[in-house]
């Protein structure tokens, strides 16, 4: 159940989490502390709680290929012991007050998230600063976390959607870190040792490489004082540059067929997309809403689910990361319908490139994208994530005011242009995970 909901939610978040404008009021106060740490603060006293997300500007993009999973393990081990607290002491402390403290690495950045009741903010910040500044990476905990990660990677093979997704990313990004799972592989996880983790932490975890996004029941003065208490010892340092391999464009189609005893074929069809900082990002967002990102308002949902009854979930999305991105159409259908569904996906991509969208489609997409902004920032946790993304991608605190104009300026010609540029129904990667005998693929 979670998986399906997540797929859909993810679709919208990818498209829109950065697309959320707000009325003229400034969403956050921004300040750079003397040690270089950027602080974003939104004061909200409606609920006696505080949400904090700290981002470190590194993730699996910094992993050496033979040690893929390094950023992931570093983040996962932050809360497994510090110089003065054991793993158990950390979890006991935060869970006793009903709070949460967790860290995880993404491709572009690593986040450490804290949620506590207002009355527990000191304890929360004490723990947060302790795990970020003074993790101990105990050998015994490293062994445990590596074992759990290996088991998790093995269990991924049980999830057809995950199997397809892993194969797809590897095929389009090749040796680039975006082609690998953040969690690494069963080959690379065993290769990571304590020194690797210590070095990774020492290299990238620094205040001048960090953004702290604070939302909730805390005033400016109190926040300044607490950040001073818990982060003033954190010293600036020089951060290594990320060295990334080039990504090759596919010149022909690649079809990957993975046989499993399943009732459905899990299908992903796609190719490289765009980076988040690309100026075409917004036209692509509107185009994708019409093609397959807009749920029941999208062409693919209408065609493949509503008219043909071929799938429960069908979607497209552009994953736009800092350095590159991907486009994918995904669906699951009974093995016997795989050929038909794939043909319809390709047909809809082609139609997007050859015909202008209708006035109605364009207006609907724009009115959703601009009209849904209040829902994107109506809770502490949503605001905290939004502010962080605005800072990380240098969108500027006026982004929320500029956004409606950016979207409303997009024309049918723009949509056609970006469809031709960023959809390629002739050169794609197609992954099918399912019962291949029953699917009898023509591709």
């Amino acid at each position: 159940m979670h998986r399906v909901i997540n797929i859909i939610t993810t679709t919208f978040i990818l498209l829109l989490s950065l697309a959320a404008p707000v009325a003229a009021a400034k969403l956050a106060e921004r300040e750079t502390l003397s040690n270089g740490m950027v602080v974003l603060h939104t004061e909200r006293h409606s609920v006696p709680m505080v949400s904090i997300v700290m981002a470190i500007r590194t993730g699996s993009i910094a992993d050496p290929s033979a040690k893929a999973g390094l950023a992931y393990l570093t983040a996962a081990l932050l809360s497994e012991g510090t110089q003065k607290r054991t793993s158990r002491e950390i979890s006991e402390a935060i869970e006793f007050v009903g709070g949460s403290l967790s860290a995880s690495a993404g491709a572009d950045y690593t986040t450490v998230s804290l949620t506590v009741l207002k009355k527990d903010i000191e304890l929360g910040l004490d723990l947060l600063s302790d795990i970020v500044l003074h993790p101990a990476f105990p050998e015994e905990e490293i062994m445990r976390k590596k074992r759990i990660t290996l088991n998790w990677l093995i269990q991924q093979n049980e999830e057809p959607g995950a199997v397809a997704s892993i194969a797809f990313s590897r095929a389009i990004f090749g040796a680039h870190p975006y082609g690998r799972q953040v969690q690494g592989t069963v080959e690379t996880i065993p290769a990571i040792n304590q020194q690797d983790l210590v070095d990774f932490h020492r290299g990238y975890f620094a205040p001048n490489n960090a953004i702290v996004s604070v939302v909730g029941d805390i005033g400016r003065d109190e926040l300044k004082q607490l950040l001073g208490r818990y982060f003033s010892d954190w010293k600036q340092k020089e951060i290594p540059e990320h060295v990334l391999p080039a990504i090759a464009q596919n010149k022909s189609s690649t079809v990957l067929k993975i046989n499993k005893d399943l009732t459905q074929a899990n299908i992903i069809l796609g190719h490289l997309g765009i980076a988040r900082v690309d100026p075409d990002y917004y036209a692509v967002t509107v185009m994708n809403y019409i093609l397959g990102g807009g749920g029941f308002a999208s062409r693919l949902m209408d065609n493949i689910r509503d008219n043909r009854g071929l799938a429960y979930d069908v979607h497209t999305y552009f994953t736009a990361n800092r350095y590159s991105g991907s486009f994918q159409a995904g669906l699951q259908t009974k093995n016997e319908s795989a050929n038909t569904a794939i043909a319809e996906v390709i047909k809809e991509m082609e139609r997007m490139r050859t015909e202008q969208v209708s006035d109605r489609e364009l207006e609907d997409a724009k009115s959703y994208l601009t009209g849904s902004f209040p829902l994107r920032i109506d809770s502490n946790s949503k605001i905290a994530g939004f502010n962080l993304a605005v800072e990380y991608y240098s969108l500027g605190l006026d982004y929320i005011d500029r956004y409606p104009a950016i979207i409303n300026a997009i024309t049918k010609e723009d949509i056609l242009r970006v469809a031709r540029k960023y959809l390629d129904p002739a050169n794609y990667v197609l992954v099918v995970v399912g019962n291949l005998q029953k699917a009898d693929l023509k591709y």
Partner: protein, 439 residues
């Protein structure tokens, strides 16, 4: 995404049930429609929801999955609003909409900027009375649901085990069949079945409207009265009288299926949350399974390292008695027999000696904190009110936290001894089958 099926959300149960006094206002229209409104002005957004007291519990053997298929059909258009217009209308206004079906209820919701929150009111009133159920649309949507079933259950080994365990747990109560329905039943559901189900259960006297967010309740009530007030009450709703027979010993089921890691799930029959023991069962679930400091995580994942993951939780928000669940995924190379033994050892420990005061207090603090934090989301607040209303009554939200606060360490031990026993237990085991070779 349209049409969510509610399978118990094991890990967040306390989050969902955690609640105390909420300033909810209740209204009752002459036609029996109940309206619950909670004004919350922290952001300019609101949710409008309508919940019907119908779910898979109200179905018959041979026609399972009817409530859920009807939920899908509710998006297919009415005499007034054509097909495919519902979601488009909401999305055009910048909103999102969705629906969910469970064993006890079916809910529809919209989330919008609060200046547009009256938009769904006419749409919901319309589809309460004027739904069109054409043969073609039903057959096509039936195919969509079979795809949904393949996705959720047939190709998901752990979900498959859950379905088998429920079927073995409930011999003669409708909780035994899955909300989405058996595949063979889905293939027989026809427009006549749906029309009958719709006419029986979709009426104001079987529905509850819930509004949470930045609204003026006077204005909203006026609009609701205008749109829903003239809909006549339907005939009385048929009562479900099934009572599950007493079980005489442990039941076990096995599933052999392509999978990577062995898995175990155990269900113990327990009363629902309206029973005084419900509070202690909720605290028991938390002590066993909430967070890294919980007993099960510490024993099976951290110390013994025989499980990849482990969980437990009380499923008390049901109309009729349901289950306390516990389960674990074995770590690679570990025997599921050893995982089961370790799981049962932890349960035996808590039966023999009560948890520490610290453990009980932590569970209570987690419940209270999660209630406060849930107020960050208007959607979660509405879901909590709705879930309570459909099962034990929304006013129970107010007494829930007091009940949790009354629980003692000895209560926790006592309910473990009373309910976590062989005579109430059904165990399901997933045995990974050998794989076919890939290409």
């Amino acid at each position: 995404m349209k049409k969510i099926i509610l399978i118990p959300v094991l890990f967040v149960f306390l989050t969902v049930t955690a609640a105390f006094s909420l300033p909810v206002n209740e209204y009752l229209l002459d036609n029996g429609l109940k309206v619950l409104i909670l004004e919350d002005h922290k952001a300019p957004t609101a949710t409008f929801q309508i919940w019907y007291r119908v779910g898979s519990r109200d179905e018959k053997s041979g026609k399972t999955g009817l409530s859920h298929l009807l939920e899908h059909m509710m998006f297919k258009g009415t005499k007034v609003h054509g097909p495919k217009t519902f979601a488009q209308t909401i999305q055009r206004a910048g909103g999102t909409d969705n629906a969910f079906t469970s064993r006890d209820y079916t809910g529809y919701f919209e989330l919008l900027a609060s200046d547009r929150i009256t938009l769904p009111i006419d749409l919901e009133a319309d589809r309460m009375q004027n739904l069109i159920l054409t043969r073609d649309a039903v057959l096509s949507e039936r195919d969509v649901v079979t795809e949904e079933r393949r996705l959720r259950t047939e190709d998901d080994p752990q979900s498959f085990v859950f379905e088998e365990v429920m079927a073995a747990t409930f011999k003669n109560h409708p909780y035994g069949w899955p909300v989405i329905g058996w595949m063979s039943d889905l293939r027989t559901l026809n427009p006549d079945d749906l029309v009958k189900h719709y006419r029986t259960y979709y009426a104001p006297n079987n529905a509850v409207i819930i509004v949470v967010g930045d609204v003026d309740q006077k204005q909203i009530m006026e609009k609701i009265r205008t749109s829903f007030g003239s809909i006549p009450a339907g005939p009385p709703i048929p009562a479900i009288t099934s009572v599950e027979d007493e079980q005489k010993g442990e039941r076990r089921v096995y599933v052999k299926k392509e999978a990577e890691l062995p898995y175990i799930m155990t269900a113990y029959k327990v009363p629902n949350l309206s029973h005084e023991d419900g509070f202690a069962l909720d605290v028991l679930g938390s002590i066993l399974s909430d967070g890294k400091s919980s007993r099960l995580y510490h024993a099976l994942v951290y110390d013994q390292q025989i499980a990849l993951s482990v969980w437990a939780g009380y499923e008390g928000l049901y109309k009729d008695p349901f289950v306390f669940l516990a389960g674990a995924t074995a770590a690679q190379g570990k025997k599921i027999e050893d995982v089961e033994r370790a799981l049962l050892e932890e349960i035996e420990k808590i039966k023999k000696s009560p948890p520490t005061g610290q453990e009980v207090q932590r569970a209570k603090n987690q419940v209270e904190a999660s209630f406060v934090m849930q107020q960050d989301s208007i959607y979660m607040q509405a879901r909590t009110i709705g879930t309570f209303e459909m099962t034990v009554g929304w006013k129970f939200v107010d007494t829930y936290l007091e009940g949790i606060r009354r629980v003692t360490a000895e209560d926790v031990s006592r309910v473990a001894r009373k309910y976590l026993v062989d005579e109430l237990k059904t165990t399901g085991i997933l045995i990974p089958a050998p794989k076919e070779k890939g290409s």
